[in-house]
């Protein structure tokens, strides 16, 4: 029996420690389901939500789907159980998130999507960067750097995610018939995969002069591969302007990064959550502006 008691005590202490205080209040609660917290971009987005929620007087509950659709669905179900007033979803996958959005619809809880959209279910508003414009921006700048017919690589994001599709579309629009894309592969928005994929591409291709990665994590992975292979004169353009990438641009190791504003996306989604909870009308799509950060 003693063993059970000690087990109980330890588990109880653990839970209490990690939950901190569990007081209730009358504040409205925002539930945020984030695709992953293993990527600084989404951590910025989450921080934006939390700071703005604090500012405007909302409680906020954050669940991490760890890039897995089934966990995302469970998380949204758990948010519904928690009876939150509004749910902000940053989907892991535009198609698979449909079931989660529908579950919230059934529970009559309004849904906002951020960054990636949902292809099914009723979403009040979708807040995202104008990714097509961003991809175009990156393509035009890379073209300017490497000149016509340069051999370039495109590292794609998670297949099927709307950011992947839109950034790819914008980029390819800008460089069509002007640059020569020698390799186009997915590295799933992941730095380690970016490194591995780029290493393989370097092995297989010669004379690469530019890389466009659909996010900075992959761009930095590619950069690591390029530096390890001691190749020079390859311009790497990323997307998202994470701290690491901006530093790399300032050091002249990366050519540029398209600045999405994840924190702004987070704060805007709370602003719109407030409008929705106040029964104001909001547009179905809210674009968040982008800028290009280049080396001086």
């Amino acid at each position: 029996m003693k063993k059970f008691l000690s087990l109980t005590a330890i588990v109880a202490m653990l839970l209490v420690t990690v939950t901190g205080c569990f007081g209730k209040s009358d504040k409205k609660t925002i539930g945020l389901s984030i695709s992953t917290l293993n990527n600084p971009f989404f951590v910025d987005l989450k921080n934006g939500v939390e700071e703005q929620a604090e500012e405007l007087g909302f409680e906020v509950i954050v669940y991490d789907a760890q890039d897995e659709s089934s966990k995302e669905l469970s998380n949204v179900e758990d948010l519904i159980s928690k009876k939150v007033d509004i749910i902000i979803i940053n989907p892991t996958d535009s198609d698979a998130v449909g079931a989660a959005v529908k579950a919230a619809n059934e529970a009559k809880i309004p849904v906002i999507t951020v960054d990636r959209s949902a292809s099914e279910g009723d979403v009040v508003t979708h807040i995202a960067s104008d990714n097509v414009a961003g991809g175009k921006m990156a393509g035009e700048y890379l073209l300017e750097l490497v000149g016509e017919n340069g051999r370039v690589v495109e590292l794609e994001g998670i297949p099927g995610a709307s950011a992947t599709i839109d950034r790819g579309t914008g980029f390819n629009e800008a460089i069509k018939d002007k640059l020569n894309v020698v390799a186009k592969q997915t590295a799933e928005f992941n730095r380690e995969k970016g490194l591995n994929v780029m290493e393989n591409i370097i092995q297989a291709n010669e004379g690469i002069v530019g890389v466009f990665a659909h996010n900075d994590e992959m761009a930095l992975g590619a950069l690591a591969a390029i530096e390890a292979a001691e190749l020079e004169g390859i311009f790497v353009v990323g997307f998202d302007a994470t701290d690491d990438a901006v530093e790399a641009v300032n050091d002249g190791r990366m050519a540029a990064t398209v600045a999405q504003q994840p924190k702004l996306m987070g704060t805007m989604s709370v602003d719109y959550a407030k409008k929705i909870l106040n029964d104001e009308n909001v547009a179905a799509n809210i674009p968040v502006s982008l800028t290009l950060i280049k080396a001086e």
């Binding site: 059970f4 109980t8 588990v11 469970s74 198609d95």
Partner: protein
């Protein structure tokens, strides 16, 4: 009183589960609502089915690391068939056969190929994942329309989610097989002492092939449920599921050395993992701490079990 102590002594995991439920309920009453419990029971059905199959495998002293990849590949094949207009009933049957065959391949490699289970299933884990990615071209498959298939993951029968009902039926059948059939006794015998089992004229190769086939089959049922719930399948679906399943089996007191363990233990293990995942969410524990708590709970449970 002694009887109670005796019962508790044999059911550490069950006591742990009850304590867990009590603690979470005390902290947040939302946890114990029917709708939340129903959510948890539906959420655990996927890991539950895989863990049941894993119980057979572990009882023989083996391990099946390929379940996550079988999960992804069978889901992909099912959705592809549905999209190309194959009759849903036929698609489901073919998918189940495929899952059983993928498991059988493991069994053949381990029994006739004389490979260690860890190595054989590590190989097929990578192989099946690779085939899945080739088959799906790295992209999710979505948008199939089939009321029957959708019902499997999303429907209710008498107010109980259908995935939960499937899990309960599977538990009953598995418990029956292990307790009441000759095959069940052979599973324990092979895991307990393979040499002795061989001398008792048990066809060890056949037993091994059967357990991996069962593992593949049950994993495929889980895969069909998830495909139905999400109305889509992802190329990286099921990654890490083998570890959740192994954790459930071990939490339930089944020995990784084989020969010792019960289905009831696995069921409790499944519920502990399910309630822990959901409970930590309900309590608002951030995801990084969730892993810390889960790791500690698994280690504690195993340590306490070892002490007895």
């Amino acid at each position: 009183m002694n009887k109670v102590k005796d019962f508790l002594g044999k059911n550490t995991a069950l006591v742990g589960l009850i304590v867990l439920i009590l603690i979470i309920t005390v902290i947040d009453i939302n946890f114990i609502q029917i709708s939340n419990l129903s959510n948890v029971l539906r959420q655990v059905s996927i890991n539950g089915l895989i863990a049941l199959g894993m119980t057979f495998v572990i009882l023989t002293g083996g391990i099946d690391l390929s379940v996550g990849s079988i999960f992804a590949l069978t889901g992909a094949v099912l959705t592809k068939m549905l999209l190309s207009g194959v009759d849903p009933v036929i698609a489901i049957i073919l998918t189940l056969i495929l899952g059983a065959l993928l498991g059988l391949v493991n069994g053949v490699l381990i029994s006739y190929g004389k490979l260690q289970a860890f190595i054989a299933t590590l190989g097929t884990m990578t192989l099946y994942r690779g085939i899945t990615r080739v088959f799906m071209d790295g992209r999710p498959i979505t948008g199939f329309k089939s009321d029957l298939v959708n019902e499997i993951g999303r429907g209710y029968f008498l107010g109980i989610p259908i995935p939960t009902i499937i899990l309960i039926i599977a538990i009953i059948i598995v418990a029956f097989i292990l307790k009441k059939t000759i095959f069940g006794k052979e599973v324990y015998a092979v895991g307990g002492n393979e040499t002795a089992a061989r001398f008792s004229a048990i066809n060890i190769n056949r037993v091994k092939m059967k357990v991996y086939t069962i593992s593949g089959f049950l994993t495929t049922i889980a895969s069909i449920i998830l495909a139905s719930r999400l109305n889509s399948t992802q190329p990286n679906a099921g990654m890490g599921y083998e570890l959740d399943a192994i954790a459930a089996v071990v939490l339930g007191g089944t020995s990784l050395a084989g020969g010792r363990g019960r289905v009831f233990g696995t069921v409790v293990g499944i519920l502990i993992i399910g309630f822990l995942n959901n409970g930590l969410n309900i309590l608002g524990v951030t995801s990084f701490y969730q892993d810390v708590v889960k790791g500690v709970v698994i280690l504690l449970a195993v340590l306490i079990d070892r002490k007895k």
